[in-house]
């Protein structure tokens, strides 16, 4: 009888203590001081992990889509375009951003806070390129001049156009590949490279070229136009 009573008493004790702990936890979580302390970059990183990391990689590198943790890249794209892409995603590409297709559905303020957090975390001391990032601001490309650029700068790694065999970096003239990536995606890849994968950016080093040889904005447009033309040739 008395042991049963003791058991019940101790059980009650445990329950009371647990409730107290839980209540304390609740109180501190809603403590206004706590919510203020969370810094913007931290919130941005959590949002990044939840909504972008799957494709752009944990911590902004080593994802299947381009690396975003790249100060020069962020500086070149600029806050306004980043906000635009984050709001709407990339039309015609696989990037949902925080737009309607995503699970995020951020409002403009959340987007702006997120981009500022991103710039704060990964964009410090970034230097913008001297040539435009945006396809819209770049000169129109010429496919036949692009062919020469491709042969000189790209072929050694990516193989001759429409070459089906094994190449060091895989084909970029595969028509299926070209149907999945946007012109901006191609331009960004050539401008900034994919450093984590060994793809050099606009300033090289490209094999068979002088070390200080850089591609011009025009040459990049040409090579993109050339890549597009290989796909249409095939069909």
């Amino acid at each position: 009888m008395s042991t049963a009573f003791k058991n019940i008493a101790s059980l009650l004790g445990v329950i009371v203590v647990a409730t107290c702990l839980q209540a304390c936890g609740k109180i501190s979580a809603t403590d206004p001081d706590d919510t203020v302390v969370v810094s913007l970059p931290q919130a941005a990183m959590a949002n990044y992990a939840e909504n972008c990391s799957a494709c752009h990689g944990a911590n902004g590198v080593n994802g299947a889509a381009r690396q975003l943790a790249d100060a020069n890249y962020l500086a070149s794209v600029g806050r306004e375009s980043l906000i635009n892409i984050t709001t709407n995603g990339v039309p015609g590409g696989f990037c949902p951003g925080s737009g309607p297709a995503s699970l995020a559905h951020w409002n403009p303020k959340q987007v702006a806070d997120f981009v500022d957090g991103l710039l704060d975390a990964w964009g410090k001391n970034g230097v913008a390129l001297s040539i435009p990032w945006s396809v819209k601001l770049s000169p129109a490309g010429n496919a036949s001049s692009g062919q020469a650029v491709y042969a000189a700068a790209c072929q050694s790694c990516h193989g001759a156009p429409n070459f089906k065999g094994v190449t060091a970096a895989g084909s970029v003239t595969d028509p299926n590949y070209l149907r999945l990536i946007t012109d901006q995606g191609l331009r960004s890849a050539i401008l900034f490279g994919r450093p984590e994968r060994g793809m050099p950016g606009w300033s090289g080093p490209f094999p068979h070229q002088a070390a200080d040889r850089k591609l011009s904005s025009q040459e990049i447009s040409d090579v993109v136009a050339f890549l597009r033309s290989t796909a249409s040739q095939k069909q």
Partner: protein, 507 residues
């Protein structure tokens, strides 16, 4: 003066009734139905059948109204539902009533059936009533399934996809049956027209005919009494004895027994009305496109247990179970009164039957509950929050990298895990490249199977090619260790893609 008018009035009504009766025999027809004698103890236990009938009538009325506004075409179904919800005054309430009374009807039918089973009311001479009742159960479920398709949303799409995948497994005939069901190899406009015809013409017609038969049999055989231990059913003497007892102790259905029915039906009506008003219509949940999953797609409650059972079953036995189990279940249900049509009726004297009931009810309940909370339902945010494991990206070609993006973007990872992260609904894909050939992978993605939706035309040929190219690189043993630049030993050329993929998906 006043009295005169009243008299004339009564006379006129009487005359009108007499005129109608002499020409139609309607009263002569209805009277025995209303006045037939039922056992005195037939009280609250017997209200569920009537409630099922009431909910069916509500379905018919609300259904006819909905059919006047609903556009049964793939392009317009979704927007016509939104129109009903938002523009038609109380249109949302109409949809809500239709949906909730359908759920209520299934519940009532199941309770009614449980009561009949536990009280062994299906024994002699009511075997046929039970069989017709079982057919009515199937009609009710079929109406619910086809009704859920009418929403033409995510849930509908996935419900159909799984249904089609089941049909597809029938040996030899599977493909044709799937084409008949869907009106083509994929879910499309023709599918909706087919299911609309089933939902508003074929199934309701069949149900009404079966309800008629069920009622006629009730009149013929009478309602069973409450079972008493020791009171055994013997086909030789039962009918005479029953009739004697009913003559002595029975009461006319109207008004004695009907009172209980009316009170209960009224109560149910209020509950369903309140539910409908508070919870609103069901769906539509997002446009049907497996590449945009915004809601957690699952079938309606009545079918949730099937979904869970499929998720739990080891894939090796799935086909066998799917093809063999349904006919056995149907035969058992239909044949039950033939297996045992005499003897004790009281549950206390039929422990085996009670045990079987408890087991089946627990199993269905547990499966349904698991379906609600299951870990193998998709992880909805996996596609944006779980990075493709870095080791699966090393040394991949640009096309394969795009394939990895398709896998994220098309939300495959909501159901499939990579590197231990992702949904558990489908098998993990870490090693899928060594399990399946290029052709098999293409088929799996385009036609689905098991619990996987058919992506069909929702992925372009380039997307299908890319994701399959990526999957062929997923092999435990062969994960290339090369780092770029320098060594790319293996590059699957795009020509590996069978030309049929491109032509099929491009159509």
């Amino acid at each position: 003066m006043f009295r005169n008018i009243k008299m004339v009035g009564t006379k006129m009504i009487g005359g009108l009734l007499g005129w109608t009766e002499s020409r139609s025999g309607a009263i002569g027809f209805v009277q025995p139905i209303l006045m037939h004698r039922v056992p005195r103890d037939a009280k609250w236990w017997y209200v569920f059948g009537s409630a099922s009938l009431m909910f069916f009538s509500i379905q018919v009325v609300t259904g006819i109204l909905l059919a006047t506004m609903y556009a049964p075409s793939a392009a317009e179904a979704y927007s016509s539902l939104q129109y009903i919800d938002q523009q038609v005054p109380f249109g949302w309430m109409l949809r809500a009533l239709h949906a909730w009374s359908s759920n209520a009807m299934i519940l009532m039918v199941v309770i009614h059936m449980s009561q009949v089973f536990l009280h062994a009311s299906f024994k002699f001479p009511r075997e046929l009533m039970w069989m017709v009742g079982v057919l009515l159960l199937f009609c009710t479920l079929a109406l619910a399934f086809t009704g859920q398709i009418m929403r033409w949303d995510q849930d509908a799409y996935w419900g159909l996809g799984i249904g089609a995948a089941i049909v597809d497994r029938v040996p030899m005939l599977g493909n044709q049956m799937r084409n008949v069901m869907l009106g083509g190899p994929y879910i499309g406009g023709a599918t909706l027209s087919r299911f609309f015809a089933l939902h508003v013409f074929v199934l309701p017609g069949l149900t009404i005919a079966l309800i008629g038969a069920h009622m006629a049999l009730i009149l013929k055989n009478g309602i069973s009494e409450m079972p008493k231990p020791g009171m055994v059913v013997d086909p030789k003497t039962y009918v005479v004895e029953y009739e004697e007892r009913i003559k002595k102790n029975g009461v006319p259905f109207m008004p004695d027994a009907a009172q209980h029915d009316m009170v209960f039906c009224g109560l149910m009506l209020i509950i369903v009305g309140v539910l409908a008003a508070y919870l609103g219509p069901v769906g539509p949940n997002g446009i049907p496109n497996p590449t945009i999953i915004d809601a957690n797609p699952r079938p309606d409650y009545a079918f949730l247990w099937i979904f869970t059972a499929m998720a739990l079953m080891p894939p090796q036995i799935e086909t066998a179970v799917l093809l063999i189990a349904p006919p056995i279940v149907v035969m058992l249900l239909l044949g039950l009164p033939l297996i045992s049509n005499r003897g004790e009726r009281a549950p206390s004297r039929r422990p085996g039957a009670v045990l079987a009931y408890v087991l089946i009810a627990t199993a269905l309940g547990t499966l349904t509950w698991l379906g609600v909370v299951s870990a193998w339902s998709p992880v909805m945010d996996a596609w944006t929050s779980l990075p493709t494991p870095v080791k699966y990206l090393v040394g991949r070609t640009p096309l394969e990298m795009q394939g990895a993006l398709v896998m994220q973007h098309s939300q495959c990872r909501n159901c499939h895990s990579l590197g231990g992260e992702g949904g558990l609904r489908g098998p993990n894909l870490d090693n899928v490249g060594s399990r399946k050939s290029w052709d098999q992978l293409v088929r799996q993605v385009q036609q689905g199977g098991g619990n996987m939706p058919a992506y069909g035309k929702n992925l372009s040929s380039a997307e299908t090619t890319a994701v399959v190219a990526f999957m062929t690189t997923l092999r435990n043993a062969g994960a290339p260790e090369s780092t770029i630049p320098g060594a790319m030993e293996r590059q699957s050329s795009p020509d590996q893609a069978p030309t049929s993929v491109a032509s099929e998906a491009g159509k």
